[in-house]
């Protein structure tokens, strides 16, 4: 899976959890899920579950703690897929 596909898949997951006043175009590599994209912190666990389903991987507790930005998520996905 190339980087572009991964990023698109991740953006597609994040899109569902964006508040009304944040657009999918606002998502950038360095976007912080809670502070940047204003995603409800409760929904971070749902994003993790969606990532697991989409990429057929399993995240550990420490991965979840580390996953603060879009870039963090991509790195975790890359490590798991490697």
């Amino acid at each position: 899976m190339d980087e572009h596909t991964k990023y698109d898949k991740l953006k597609n997951i994040i899109k569902t959890y964006l508040p009304e006043d944040v657009s999918v175009n606002d998502i950038e590599m360095n976007s912080h899920f809670i502070n940047g994209l204003n995603i409800n912190s409760a929904n971070l666990v749902d994003i993790v579950l969606d990532v697991e389903d989409e990429f057929d991987i399993m995240l550990e507790n420490e991965d979840m703690d580390k996953m603060q930005t879009v870039e963090d998520a991509i790195q975790i996905i890359n490590t798991k897929l490697a």
Binding site: T16, Y17, A42, N43, V45, D46, L49
Partner: protein, 422 residues
């Protein structure tokens, strides 16, 4: 003395009508919402007929964001939010602005058991050691107050936001709790109502108690037979009803449409003594509840024009009529007009009181008494107490002022509310 309290908004999600117009039409025309459920047949239920609101995906979209719809399995929350928001809109009240809750508006929205289908999903994951996969909404969909919490956030209520639970009395109790709060000057507006989940996990326990009819699986619309000699038990239902209660001052100040006035009411329990049990009423407490409701409302028994009973279509219907007759000291042709709406949509359990209250208030506003379904063969024990003329089969226009509504529930609990036209 306290504030006078009026009804300024109605919303409903019932087995025979979703939305006020559709519901009113069904009640007026005597349209049943009882259907055969193939799912119940596959699961070996004795009673395979039930009532559940029929909601389209399109309707769901206008009440819940697509994020909220993900994994949304608590049908009680779906029904409650739809009915509650409809009532708020019907009252022409705004949703609170982004940073300012409406401090004078609150919610009492009851439930029986909430989100059982979500609970089932969660339990299956927990049992196989997969708790990490529950997601973020298991708690909010299964907490009893999930429905009032969803409504409170959507509307932006800054007053008391709570959920009450008293079995089949829940809806009428919610109304009286909201009424008290406004009367005491603690709130200007209270959204009151109740909801009940649908589905086999809710209805199964009643089927196991063998108190549901088993011989009408091929004739669903005939299954729910309040006051009938051939009644065989109650048909389980589900849904939600909602009413906006408001101080008369607030309603007048904003020129609100007023449906009716809530004069008062009472809530009590038979203490599971004196004939009362977990599942049967203490008759003395039922009569006391009705009498104190009248007293509290400053209404004479002779003034009651219409009664909407609890009347579930079990062997207890005749006893309920006897209790009304003794409490009101009226019998034969002198008894008020009486109806039960459970013939239309079954017994909607924790939602029963509120859905029936919506219909009661519509009766007052439209000066119309809805006909009873499926009691052409009035139970002989009822026929001995009141004239069959008091039990209309067809909806009829009639001038009347005072309506009494009662709900009774497991645990030997009672609630009675009194309304007058405004």
């Amino acid at each position: 003395m306290g504030s006078r309290v009026v009804v300024t908004g109605l919303g409903v999600c019932a087995p025979n009508g979703v939305g006020l117009n559709s519901f009113y039409e069904s009640m007026q025309m005597g349209v049943s919402g009882i259907r055969h459920f193939p799912e119940l047949e596959e699961l070996n239920f004795g009673c395979q007929v039930a009532g559940a609101p029929q909601i389209s995906q399109e309707q769901l979209h206008s009440y819940f964001t697509s994020l909220e719809q993900r994994g949304l399995k608590a049908t009680g929350i779906i029904y409650g939010v739809m009915a509650g928001l409809d009532a708020w809109k019907d009252a022409a009240l705004p949703l609170a602005a982004e940073n300012t809750p409406d401090w004078d508006s609150g919610i009492v929205f009851g439930s029986g058991t909430l989100g059982v289908a979500k609970f089932n999903e969660a339990m299956n994951l927990v049992d196989v050691g997969n708790v990490r996969r529950l997601g973020s909404t298991t708690v909010i969909q299964t907490m009893a107050s999930g429905v009032s919490a969803y409504l409170g956030g959507k509307i932006g209520c800054g007053n008391q936001v709570t959920t009450n639970s008293s079995a089949c009395t829940t809806g009428t109790e919610a109304l009286l709790m909201g009424y008290d709060r406004i009367k005491n000057g603690q709130a200007e507006r209270m959204l009151v109502g109740s909801c009940s989940d649908s589905g086999p996990y809710v209805w199964g326990g009643f089927d196991a108690m063998r108190i549901l009819p088993r011989n009408f699986n091929d004739r669903p619309e005939s299954a729910s037979r309040p006051m009938s000699a051939s009644a065989q038990g109650f048909v389980p239902g589900s849904g939600a009803g909602a009413l906006v209660l408001e101080s008369l001052d607030s309603a007048k100040a904003r020129g609100a449409n007023i449906y009716a006035e809530v004069l008062g009411g009472n809530i009590n329990s038979g203490g599971q003594r004196g004939g009362g049990t977990m599942t049967a009423p203490n008759s003395e407490s039922v009569q006391r509840c009705i009498l104190s409701a009248l007293e509290n409302s400053k209404v004479q028994a002779s003034e009651v024009d219409v009664v909407n009973g609890h009347l579930t279509a079990t062997s207890k219907d005749a006893l309920e009529i006897e209790n009304w007759s003794r409490a009101l000291k009226r019998k034969g042709g002198n008894f008020p007009l009486i109806n039960s709406f459970k013939g239309h949509f079954g017994h909607c359990l924790s939602a029963a009181g509120s859905i029936e209250l919506v219909a009661c208030v519509l009766q007052l506003k439209e000066q119309m008494v809805f006909g009873n379904l499926n009691c052409e063969d009035l139970h002989p024990e009822i026929d001995k107490i009141i004239s069959s003329d008091c039990v209309p089969h067809k909806s009829m226009k009639t001038d009347f002022q005072v309506l009494a509504k009662a709900s009774f529930g497991f645990g030997d609990v009672n609630a009675c509310a009194i309304f007058r036209t405004y």
